[in-house]
């Protein structure tokens, strides 16, 4: 579809420069290595393929998280959301989870969503921590605003980090109560909640950067739902 | 400081101290008890810090311990210290009677050691 750049000049918001997220590698409980790295806008079509099956999974609120994440990624891709980013987790090139958010201004970050495809390995926890790391340490912001749609998210973030409740403050996602992570709180909790080693060994990084491999739809459903037969 | 509202039971026959209540003595099976109050400083017998709490607690973790009072009453309570590293089996603490949780918005009182 041809894009009218004069019109885009009106419709796109001016972006703030964002420092990149340096990739890292995390050793998971089964010794598999998960590379956490920043996705580019060009990766969005592939990411949407991974997110799409979740729209039909009500378990653990995957449907609402997936639906909103899909819209956010698409909005970013179409330059209609300003200063959005997306970090992905990959094991042997396969996408196992993704997180996103955006830079509201130089001081405030807005955490959007966390979607784990591979479950049982704390992928979601690791990726959430990575985006907090991005906001505080690399974007050098003062605080990150966070909300939770699921009890799992509430437990992992609000309780584990001891996030500060923000009465009367509306998160961009609307709805549920808004919390914030401050710089002080981040550095206090970092030793027990933020993992990963840099630099990533070249072979592992090259594999991750070469391509984001997405499992097929039925595999994604099985990973998320883990339905047991009779 | 609020009085510790725990009643322990001393067997009138053999002197064994019970808390919680038993209708018959754990040692001699007698049924006659003298009510006593836990007294004195406490000695820490066992402790832990729990990270996955049940419904009804707003804190991230809870330190819990089992102690023995100077008059031999044993009881469980919450421990109010900053770090687990500050605790050692056998150390002395003081017992207080304070809110330990809320049920239907009402404070529930119990033992807190510090």
């Amino acid at each position: 579809m041809a894009v009218d750049m004069d019109l885009e000049g009106v419709l796109r918001a001016p972006e703030i420069d964002m420092a990149p997220y340096p990739p890292k590698v995390i050793t998971l409980a089964n010794s598999k290595k998960m590379v956490v790295r920043q996705a580019s806008m060009a990766d969005v079509p592939v990411l949407l393929k991974a997110v799409r099956p979740t729209l039909d999974i009500p378990r653990d609120y995957y449907d609402i998280v997936g639906a909103r994440l899909y819209a956010e990624l698409l909005g970013w891709y179409k330059h209609r959301v300003r200063n959005e980013y997306c970090l992905v987790g990959q094991i042997d090139g396969y996408l196992v989870g993704l997180v996103n958010g955006r830079m509201v201004d130089h001081d405030i970050g807005m955490s959007y969503h966390t979607l784990a495809i591979d479950r049982g390995l704390r992928v979601g926890s690791h990726l959430f921590a990575s985006k907090m790391e991005y906001h505080i340490e690399f974007l050098e912001q003062q605080e990150v605003w966070i909300t939770a749609e699921s009890p799992i998210g509430f437990r992992r973030w609000m309780i584990e980090y001891g996030l500060i409740k923000q009465e009367g403050v509306q998160h961009e996602l609307g709805g549920a109560t808004s919390y914030k992570l401050t710089r002080d709180l981040y550095f206090e909790t970092k030793p027990r909640l933020v993992a990963g080693q840099r630099p990533v060994p070249k072979k592992i990084l090259d594999l991750a950067m070469a391509k984001i491999i997405v499992a097929d739809e039925s595999d994604i459903r099985e990973k998320i739902c883990g339905v047991k037969g009779r | 400081m609020d009085e510790i509202k725990i009643t322990a039971y001393k067997c009138k026959k053999c002197g064994r101290i019970h808390f919680p209540f038993h209708d018959r003595c754990l040692d001699c099976i007698a049924r006659d008890f003298e009510e006593i109050k836990p007294e004195g400083p406490v000695r820490l017998l066992a402790f832990t810090e729990i990270y996955n709490l049940p419904w009804g607690f707003d804190v991230r973790t809870l330190k819990i311990g089992v102690v023995e009072f100077a008059n031999k009453v044993k009881a469980m309570g919450q421990i109010d210290v900053d770090e687990m590293g500050d605790l050692k089996t056998g150390m002395k603490l003081t017992a207080y009677w304070e809110p330990v949780r809320k049920t239907a918005d009402e404070d529930v009182f119990g033992l807190v050691f510090r």
Binding site: I26, T27, L28, A29, N30, S31, R59, G120, L121, R122, S125, H126, A129, P151, R155, P191, R192, L193, V194, A195, G196, Q197, G226, V227, K228, G229, R230 | H18, F19, P20, L26, L45, A46, F47, T48, E49, I50, Y51, N52, L53, P54, W55, G56, F57, L62, I64, G65, V66, K74, A75, M76, G77, Q78, M84, T89, V100, R101, V108, G110, L111
Partner: protein, 397 residues
Amino acid sequence: MMRQVAIIGAGMIPFGRRDEDTLLDMLAYASLKALDDAGMGDKGVDAVYVANMGAGILQHQTSVASALVDRLSLMPAAADAIENGPASGASAIKNGVLAVASGYYDYVLVAGGEKMREVVGWKATDFVCTMTHPEAEYPYGVTLPGMAGMFTRLYMEQYGLTREQLIAVAIKNQKMGSLNPNAHVEMIITKEGIADSPDSVVNNPMAADPLHLYDMCPVSDGAAAVILCPLELAKKVTKKTPVVVAGFGQATDTHTLQEREDPTDLKAVTLASRQAFEMAKLTPKDVDFAELHDAFTILEIAESEHAGFFKKGAGGKAVEKGETSLGGKLPINMSGGLKARGHPVGATGVAQVVDSVFQLRHELGKDRQVKGAKIGFTLNFGGFGNNVVAFVLTRAE
């Protein structure tokens, strides 16, 4: 003279998170599997015992034994629900064994099930906490993992148990779980991933100091069932090798840990095990494999000692040396144990027996089968060791 009791049918459904099934669904599926395994066909049973701890709280449903009889069209069978905390399963089997041994009933179905994932995690934890003493323990927020944490610290101080030994249990059992199609957790973990790597701090966070996440069993849904009958009738019904309940034992201890003279002394485990061995006229040395109640890794080690398999303080070293792995001196938890197979509370004791039946019939693949297994031992640990049931099971020759 009491009749010898045989297990002629065993069945279970895969443990895990089973959103699509109700509690009754799970109990029914497991029961049908056991009935079919026994070759019962359309034959009914005389009595049904159902093990369950939480249906009244979690599912707002009571009288589950009557409900199961109706569901399976087993009327007019006698039916009782058995609640003994995490030892409900073995308690139900014990009651079934007594019923058959007495001569009063011939064919008995024992099913155990629990649907713990019906509620959010904090509420499932609170449900388990209802086992604690209502005045002396519950108000403080102490959880069963919390009790295990206190117990572990004392065990470390008294017997020199190390963190590495606990890790060895976790790795062994998750490995076996990965080979068990009925296991909740089918994931291999490594020492690097849960302890050695700097990232292990996040992978394996503290849960109840000094126990970590991977020292804990998961919260599971599931059901398991067995069919009991007198040994003399077994051959008339089944073509499979019957498994004999050679001995059982049950013992209790104080409700609160603080009232035990030595809180590291699991008296009820020792007594229940001794009773079971005496009834069977066997000793721990005769046992080929054991299914122990490893809700927490510490319990596998402590129970292996208190049941008489190892001296106090030696259980941890035995795990490290591989003595409790497949091919070792005494394989423990070749099912994956509670750690990996899962722990739907009411189902666990029955599942331990089900897995033992598969072992004794030599029906498992070589990656889990104990070669030539003839004698097995199960231990189901209620509360924090205040109500324990043990079985010695033998392959009928």
